[in-house]
């Protein structure tokens, strides 16, 4: 038999039907649902008199538009309240499990799937959210879909998909101290650009990936979409199985052993071919930061902001000029020392325990700079409790940071947590688009280490000057 990649194995076992000239009908094992991209899909089902085909393969939570302040207070945003209410009505009417605002396991959809052991190797996973690629860290094929497709999956548990191309990103070597998984993915996107992975599913491999924890792998897969890729995936290994063992929805006892045996068959075969490959040298990576208005506009933290005059392509020059004007940055200057107004530590990219521990490690016994607003938003209620159990909340509070309830918060600024117009924010989230963190907000994407170091100084800081 022809050697197959991880992607090919998953794809081939999930095709339900294929007709000439038509996309494949692909079976979906897990459908995650949140409040913002689902209401119109449920309306469609109602209009057509359809049911949810597999309510037990559908899991809902609220994360995008919810407040991260005291949960015992009533919601002040009427529109958000309506959307949240609509999701609970839909979940009730269609028999779907919902982790609502007051559920002890509520959290960002891409954080709670893995945390609860719902996300498992070998699955096809979708959600009306582009960062569904996160779940690919488990060796699943996971990708974001639009609301029409949410309706398709609700009604049929299937999607119409053209087979994407495969793209192997090999990251060999070892990260230097102060360099994290976030820097790997920011470096890749800076290299390939925001459209570089369009039409492809990326599989990350190599010693640096093997040596990365599940949380780091999720950070990497999470931002695959920022390089334009449909999905990112990593072959499951012992690190994956150790993470999953004992989690609430992970298989137990004999079923666990059988599952692990099955999962061990998933990694790509020796000699399997990809449509495209690229190598990144982990040893050479430095902490990364973005300077522009898309995640591809990133550089090593010690490098200088590029100059539009050095770009020959007219549209590329115009794009950089526009980005630098929005960011109000000077070409040729380093970002180090650039003053900040806000630091945000959170989002489905970097709001897990390891991220919070990294940030707290630097902030312990220190204070954030004066006049700087620092928000630390755990990715889920479980993470919040665990962090509090370890005393991290105390570290953050004592340092002058705000310790919030779980949600997307300032990553998308739908809930009132926003960066002011013209303000600069170092953010551990995944998008630095104009206005993403609030109208006129200026975002520097970076790792939790860079965020914490910058919070202490009040300006963009290379964390390596603080860690020994």
């Amino acid at each position: 038999m022809k050697p197959r990649t991880l992607f090919e194995k998953l794809w081939e076992t999930h095709v339900v039907a294929e007709e000439p000239d038509s996309p494949s009908v692909v079976y979906i094992d897990l459908h995650l649902v949140h409040e913002v991209t689902s209401p119109q899909a449920f309306s469609e089902l109602r209009q057509r008199g359809l049911k949810v085909r597999q309510p037990q393969k559908t899991v809902a939570t609220v994360d995008h538009s919810i407040p991260t302040t005291d949960r015992s207070l009533p919601l002040t945003d009427a529109l958000a309240a309506k959307q949240i209410e609509q999701l609970s009505t839909n979940a009730r009417d269609f028999g779907i499990r919902l982790y609502d605002l007051h559920n002890a396991q509520q959290g960002i959809v891409h954080i709670i799937g893995p945390e609860l052991g719902i996300t498992q190797p070998g699955m096809t996973i979708v959600c009306g959210d582009s960062h569904t690629s996160t779940h690919g860290a488990f060796g699943s094929l996971a990708f974001g879909i639009g609301t029409s497709e949410v309706g398709h999956v609700l009604a049929t548990q299937c999607l119409l998909q053209r087979r994407p191309k495969t793209f192997n990103v090999r990251v060999e070597g070892k990260l230097a101290p102060g360099v994290t998984a976030k820097d790997i993915i920011l470096a890749l996107i800076a290299r390939i650009g925001v459209g570089g992975g369009t039409g492809h599913v990326i599989e990350y491999s190599g010693s640096a990936i093997r040596g990365t924890s599940m949380e780091g792998r999720m950070t990497i897969c999470n931002m695959s979409i920022e390089g334009g890729a449909r999905a990112g995936m990593i072959a499951p290994d012992d690190t994956t199985f150790e993470y999953l063992a004992g989690r609430e929805f992970a298989p137990k006892e004999a079923a666990w052993d059988a599952a692990v045996t099955r999962w061990r068959q998933l990694p790509g075969d020796e000699g399997a071919r990809f449509d495209r490959t690229l190598d990144l040298d982990a040893d050479k990576l430095e902490p990364m930061i973005t300077y522009g208005t898309n995640p591809g506009m990133g550089l090593s933290i010690t490098a200088r902001v590029p100059d539009p005059d050095d770009i020959t392509d007219a549209s590329g020059k115009a794009a950089l000029t526009k980005a630098l004007a929005y960011m109000n940055l000077t070409p040729g200057k380093s970002l180090l020392g650039h003053p900040l107004d806000v630091v945000f530590i959170g989002s489905c990219t970097n709001a897990r325990m390891s991220d919070l521990r990294l940030a707290a490690g630097l902030l312990k016994g220190k204070h954030v700079a004066r006049n700087l607003r620092v928000l630390v938003v755990p990715g889920s209620q479980q993470i919040k409790r665990q962090a509090e159990g370890e005393g991290l909340d105390e570290v953050f509070r004592a340092a002058g940071a705000e310790w919030r309830e779980a949600g997307c918060s300032m990553c998308i600024a739908m809930n009132g947590d926003e960066v002011g117009a013209g303000e600069y924010c170092v953010s551990t989230s995944n998008r630095n688009f104009e206005g993403r963190q609030g109208k006129g907000a200026r975002t520097f994407l970076a790792s939790p280490l860079t965020a914490a170091a910058s919070a202490i100084n009040g300006y963009v800081t290379d964390a390596r000057t603080m860690v020994n």
């Binding site: 009908v25 079976y27 995008h64 639009g146 609301t147 029409s148 459209g195 898309n294 549209s315 115009a318």
Partner: protein, 195 residues
């Protein structure tokens, strides 16, 4: 769904590259449970100033943009968030197609499912189109979906690629959910075999 065969109309040029869906419709306008009403917030942060007044220099606010059928965008349109609100908002404004050299995957899927056409043209045609529209802002383009052609103001007909399945669905006004529902037997046997 309504059938699409041919349409024509004027063009709004928006030369920016990598326009992401947060620009098309900022997240704060996604707190809706509806598909309608999004057009007034299309490109909100580029279209209105801090006081909410229309910026006269933004192309969508210019009189000749009203009633246009085509948005002519820079390279790589629609990256970022999966929000289907982006094609809903563009469509709500009156656009029927967007032209670029490349589209983000999810945006392209979302658009086709709503009968909104993402038209890929090669870089030379793309440059040419901007030039033609600059010379004559009133110029019209027309699409013939059956023939897969985009006819330029100078009469040249350019073939554009489109997924043949989506094309058939759009030409016949068939929606994809209907197609999927017809696979009930195959889905049931798949579920039986994988239970």
């Amino acid at each position: 769904m309504e059938k699409i065969t041919t349409f024509s109309g004027r063009v709004v040029p928006l030369p920016n590259n990598d326009v992401d869906t947060d620009q098309i419709i900022p997240a704060r306008f996604l707190k809706t449970t509806d598909k309608s009403g999004l057009a007034s917030n299309l490109f909100y942060d580029w279209r209105y100033d801090a006081q909410g007044a229309p910026r006269p220099d933004f192309v969508l606010n210019q009189p000749e943009s009203q009633g246009a059928a085509f948005l002519l965008a820079g390279h790589n349109f629609g990256c970022g968030s999966s929000r289907e609100h982006a094609p809903w908002a563009l469509q709500g404004f009156g656009f029927r197609a967007v032209i670029s050299t490349e589209f983000a995957d999810i945006f392209q899927n979302n658009s086709l499912k709503n009968g909104f056409l993402p038209l890929v043209v090669d870089p030379s045609v793309h440059r040419n189109l901007f030039e033609l529209i600059r010379q004559n802002p009133q110029a019209e383009l027309s699409v013939d979906l059956g023939a897969q052609t985009l006819t330029l103001p100078d009469g040249r007909a350019i073939t554009f690629p489109i997924d043949p399945f989506s094309r058939t669905c759009l030409l016949n006004g068939v929606d994809e959910l209907g197609y999927l529902l017809r696979h009930e037997d195959a889905i049931r046997s798949y579920e039986f075999a994988h239970a």
